[in-house]
Amino acid sequence: MNALFKCEVNRIFASKKTWVFIILAFLVTIGLSVYSTSGEVAFINDSNGNRMELTGMKAIKYSNEIEFPLAGEVTEDKLKRSLNVYRDSYDSVDDKFSFTEEFNEKIPLMGLLQDISIDPTYSDYTIQELPDVIATNYYEIRGCVQEDLLKDELNDNPKLIKYAKKLDANVKKPFYFSPNKGWQPTLECMSILYYILCLMIIVLASSVYSEDYYSGADAVMRTTKYGMKELAKVKFTTSLVFVLLICILCTFIYLGMSSFKLSVGGLKASAQFINSLVPVPLTIGGALKYIVFFGLLSSICTAGFAMWISSRCKNPILSLIIPIALFGVYLLSSNFKGAGSITSVLFDMFPFRGAGMYFTLFTGISIQLLFGVPIWAPYITAIISIILLTAFYYGTIKRYVNMKC
């Protein structure tokens, strides 16, 4: 069997398609890493007091330096001081803020206050008009705002709301801040990277079996001693390992470039600096680990899915179109899901689900009902991905063995 593994690895690397995949994967990784921080902006006052815009790496470097004194627990006292600085920096005559260093330092904390100012009590205020109480009672008000959000997002389902609150109770409070400029788009682009990799994996893995059926190569193979079950297993596992290794390499490249550009200390900041209202009991670094783990899991799950389809199709074009179409359906359906709904449960069944962990964690309340039991979405994704992967493995082997040419 080892000899067969070596031969299959040799075959994979002898294929032009493989090298195109590898090169494209690396290019996309590098491209997204560069792109992820290109949109970052910071404003400063020049020597004449005029507003000047810094972008990309300059903005990140400046913000990280300027925000450094703010590192530590986000107490309500700190929030109040930030609010005062904001008020002082506001020029009511020109109706604009003065981007002094002191002002810029407080921006991350003001973001937290801005998030809870959607509360009806404060929604009519501009940021400089916000009363002290929003800062001095920040965590309590956040709880109220979050409760309204939970009711809305979780369709007033008491089970889900209770679970979400329990989850939020695990969020470390006061929040912890360390300069993290650039990490939010980096994490977001990382999920996009895994989506793109999933799409590329589909293109690569969809031909693993169907191309052999189509060319007739399998007719010779399946009449040999190890040409049935063993060959199907070897092809499946080799492709899976190959895909995983490439995705791990891409992850290393992406994270290597990111840690070179960004402040690694920023990973210690609470995940609430990405979205302050979500009940995600993680730091930014913790969220990053989730995104990487689920990205890699979805990459092998997608490969398994594409190979399963491939094992059922004699036509390589069909075996490519079907998973790509389902991938499209998945991306579209992500706009129509609601917590606990049927579409949401179906949404969780897609093998690419884990790739978008950033969006799961930060663009909604990531809690689902599974057989009436509320579970945090990452856990559901992990369980379903493992079940799917196992099913794809056995399903593929069974189908290959039973496929008659």
């Binding site: 031969c7 002898a14 009449t223 040999t224």
Partner: protein, 298 residues
Amino acid sequence: MKFTLYGFMNLKTVSLTKNYRSHNAVDKIDLEFTPGIWGLLGANGAGKTTFIKMLVGVLNPTSGDILFGDNSIKELEEKYRKKLGYLPQKFGYYEELNLNDYLLYVAALKGISKKDAKGKISYLLEKVSLTDVQYKKIRTFSGGMKQRVGIAQALLNDPQVLILDEPTAGLDIEERRKFREFITNYSRERMVLISTHIVSDIEFIANNIAVIKKGKLVASGSPNDLISSLAFSAWEVSIPVREKNKIEQSGLIINYHNEDKEDIFVRYISNDPLYCDSERKNVTLEDYYIYINSREEI
């Protein structure tokens, strides 16, 4: 287990049938393959390939069974495949691999160690005259070269049962001659089944021949037995072109060609000569095959 010559186990089909909806591609074929070369003759679409696909286990029969020794090949699985060599009609290969790597891959699938495989590959490539292109991509080869790759891969494991579906397709005359010579030497102590619709491929080398027509086995036996079962004689004669219809009604034209504007040279089979100057010839396997295929009652 039933052992015969040199431990060879006979391959036997028992009422082997394959139906595709209402079409009987293979219809209750009973055959026992003994060591030696077997020719499987049949016109295109007669059911040869379907029959062979079932023999090698890539297609399930609708009913009936295939026994290797006393056991069904379904039960034997890899024990049977270990002893099998197969060249399909449409030989597919891995386009991305060169010839050497492709054969190493097949060798690994056949459970041959890399060391043994290397020696075997060198030997076989020499036999099929492909040593010069050992490290070239198969996709760059001509049709005949690809066919020889197919033959080489089938022989890698020194199979006891070698099944070749249209092996000479794409080979030139010299390559066909070499192929026949090699297979004749190889077939000692082994069973080689060659499926073809070209009689000359097997006429002189086959120990036994099975003829399939419309999915049914219509004849089997040694070439001499088959020929002698034909109660006709073969005749050759030059006749005027206008006589052609007459000879067609009375006997059976096997072959003819124009001699000049007025005469044609005809080979026909018949009990008695239809023209007094007809010259009697020995009946060949081709005569027999054409006769069998032209019979309407089958």
